[in-house]
């Protein structure tokens, strides 16, 4: 009896990190029932412990590689890299949420449980070795986030965000399942390696194959917010609680890129020419619409929403470039993007206090005169988002465009740099408002140890990666080696 239990535990080793997160999520739900409402923030710290344990397990499991559970789960450096990004996104998301949830009067234990469920879903997406696991991981992530987006039940904008995301997400899931079923019908297997083996010998001119590839591209494009599948982004980002917006802009988008890379540069690699053409078209559209629409926004959350669309466009350039360099540059980019974007949202959250939304860009006027630290942090994050050295954002964009040039897509790199220059206008406008204008009213910034910790982590990461990117880049390169 005991040996069989040990046997089962041994078989579970590859999914211990996911196991730990789900166990913590379940215990959060149980403890929440008995916990006095004043102490709910303790659940946040408790969830963070879970994330740290899961992260150390992922690092310990770094040496274990291979396919497990009949090939439904893969353990490789690629998935481990992404899992570490998810831990970072979820950890920062929880840290910046704690105080904010109190202010919005929505501090409930389920928030943390859903964050952990969503993270477990993203991890399954990154290490999926089978179309079924991709789908289930994606739904676990998406369903948790639909609820988080509508978490402010009394706020009609939050309701709208939740419903809109749910409806459009359901459509995109439907399209993805259709594409997957066509692929299964052709290949006779849902296993990613099996599909690759089939494609190596198959007739690649088959229109059904093309159709299924396009359908997968549409649904993954929806998850990473690529134009023209971006319609939901501004409304959902604006309506959702700001802490959820921050998490949403980092976690699910990065998870989308994990699946995009795994499926398009590994499984469907024989179709690389078609994929590269379609993706570079998507990338140009995404960069154009994201950057141009961001110019005219007055709400900071909407502006960051369009900015996150634009950043998906830059990352798509790397996916379109393909190859080892392209994939590694995308991984480096999404890591940097996650940190700097969550940092920027962290500063936005500081402005939110009772009686003042702090969501208009004009609310930032004069921040540099009253709160030097907050303004300086925002300056660093915005510089990084623009891509000004020595911040990390520059490094990310540099390697993305370099990989495009190496792949012979010089025009794509030029277009990317041009749009990147346009983006300077709306990022620097906020900086100008902060430093050149006088404050309209007294600022009473929200401060809490958790928020300070989150900002410290992200600002350190932005500067350290910006100044000395080599280790992270080498890590990304080594991670991608097993993928191709």
């Amino acid at each position: 009896m005991l040996t069989s239990v040990q046997e089962i535990l041994k078989q579970l080793v590859p999914i211990y990190p996911e196991f730990v997160l789900i166990a913590f999520a379940l215990s959060v739900l149980v403890v929440d029932m008995f916990l006095n409402g004043r102490y709910t923030h303790l659940l946040g710290w408790y969830s963070l412990i879970g994330i740290v344990i899961a992260a150390s397990m992922t690092i310990i499991l770094g040496g274990v590689q291979g396919a497990f559970f009949s090939g439904t789960v893969l353990l490789d450096p690629f998935s481990q890299f992404f899992k570490l990004v998810f831990y970072l996104a979820c950890g920062l998301g929880i840290l910046i949420a704690m105080k904010y949830l109190d202010i919005e009067d929505i501090h409930r234990g389920e928030y943390y449980a859903l964050m952990l469920f969503a993270t477990a879903g993203m991890m399954l997406m990154a290490s999926a070795g089978d179309l079924i696991t991709i789908y289930l991981g994606l739904e676990l992530m998406a369903l948790s986030i639909y609820v988080l987006a509508g978490f402010m039940r009394k706020d009609s904008r939050s309701n709208e965000a939740g419903i809109k995301y749910l409806l459009l997400g359901a459509f995109s899931s439907g399209i993805m399942l259709y594409g997957m079923s066509l692929l299964y019908g052709l290949a006779g297997t849902t296993n990613l390696d099996g599909i690759l083996a089939f494609l190596r010998t198959a007739d690649l001119k088959n229109p059904v194959l093309f159709l299924s590839m396009v359908m997968l591209m549409v649904s993954f494009g929806f998850k990473v917010a690529a134009v023209p599948f971006h319609m939901w982004v501004p409304d959902v980002y604006e309506g959702a609680p700001t802490s959820v917006t921050a998490f949403m802009s980092a976690g699910p988008k990065v998870a989308g890129f994990a699946v995009l890379l795994r499926v398009f540069t590994h499984t469907l690699d024989p179709l690389h020419a078609d994929i590269s053409l379609l993706l570079s078209g998507l990338a140009v559209l995404t960069m154009a619409v994201g950057n141009v629409m961001a110019l005219s926004q007055t709400n900071i959350k909407r502006m960051l929403a369009y900015s996150s669309i634009a950043h998906a466009g830059y990352a798509l350039v790397g996916v379109a470039a393909g190859g080892q360099e392209g994939a590694a540059s995308v991984m480096l980019y999404v890591l940097i993007y996650a940190v700097m974007n969550m940092g920027a949202f962290g500063v936005v959250i500081m402005l939110r206090k009772a009686g003042m939304r702090g969501e208009e860009i004009s609310d930032f006027a004069g921040l540099g005169k009253t709160n030097k630290t907050a303004a300086f942090l925002m300056l660093i994050f915005l510089f990084s988002l623009t891509g000004i050295p020595p911040m990390a954002g520059f490094v990310g964009k540099f390697y993305i465009f370099k990989s495009a040039v190496q792949a012979g897509m010089i025009w794509l790199a030029i277009v990317g740099v041009l749009f990147s220059a346009i983006s300077a206008y709306f990022y620097l406008r906020v900086i100008m408002l902060m430093y050149m204008y006088d404050p309209k009213e007294e600022f009473g910034l929200v401060q809490s140890p958790a928020l300070a910790l989150a900002l410290a982590i992200s600002v350190t990461a932005v500067i350290v990666i910006g100044v000395y990117p080599t280790p992270v880049l080498e890590f990304a390169r080594a991670s991608v080696a097993g993928l191709l």
Binding site: F69, S70, E110, G150, L186, G188, T189, N206, P207, V208
Partner: protein
């Protein structure tokens, strides 16, 4: 081409699936749409029978007809302002034309792509008398992990729906 009994039955089932679909989309009364959906689910279940997937067909009846449609009707009837129920999915004007054109183009490209498609066939392997045993074996062996993820997924949905729907506690 000879048209046998099987083809006629298939045609009936296919029409049972598609015609109510049109009613769902074009009806001017949301209640009619919900009822029409009921028949679409029934037709889909019939299509599964044609594919020799009895278990899936029966599950379709139990879950979608027994659960989802009834729930949908309850949700409509419990909504406030039932008198103003004449809401519709229809859109009109240029958007309608644009959406119609896009849908037709999509249909055309699907038909073109699927016309000459060669699918992976499992040879002429003998069909098992029942598929339920095979499904059960697969779910608890090859697809054990996805099966377990589904349970976590359902739990997350349950928690989520409680968060959205429960009365605020003070």
């Amino acid at each position: 081409m000879e048209i046998g009994m099987r083809d006629i039955v298939f045609l009936c089932v296919a029409l049972l699936t598609t015609i109510p679909c049109l009613i769902v989309v074009f009806s001017r009364n949301v209640l009619y749409s919900a009822f029409a959906l009921f028949f679409t689910f029934l037709g889909t279940s019939g299509l599964y029978f044609f594919l020799d997937a009895e278990f899936l067909a029966i599950t379709q009846v139990v879950v979608y007809i027994g659960g989802v449609s009834v729930l949908l009707l309850f949700a409509i009837l419990l909504t406030k302002n039932v008198d103003e129920i004449r809401k519709t999915n229809m859109i009109s004007g240029p958007r309608m034309a644009l959406a119609g054109a896009a849908a037709l183009a999509l249909l055309g490209s699907f038909l073109y792509a699927l016309k000459g498609a060669r699918w992976a066939m499992n040879g002429n392997a003998a069909y098992p008398a029942t598929t339920i045993k095979g499904l059960g074996d697969l779910l608890l062996s090859k697809y054990l992990l996805p099966f377990e993820i589904v349970s976590i997924l359902l739990l997350a949905v349950l928690v989520g729906s409680l968060v959205i729907s429960r009365r605020s506690v003070q």
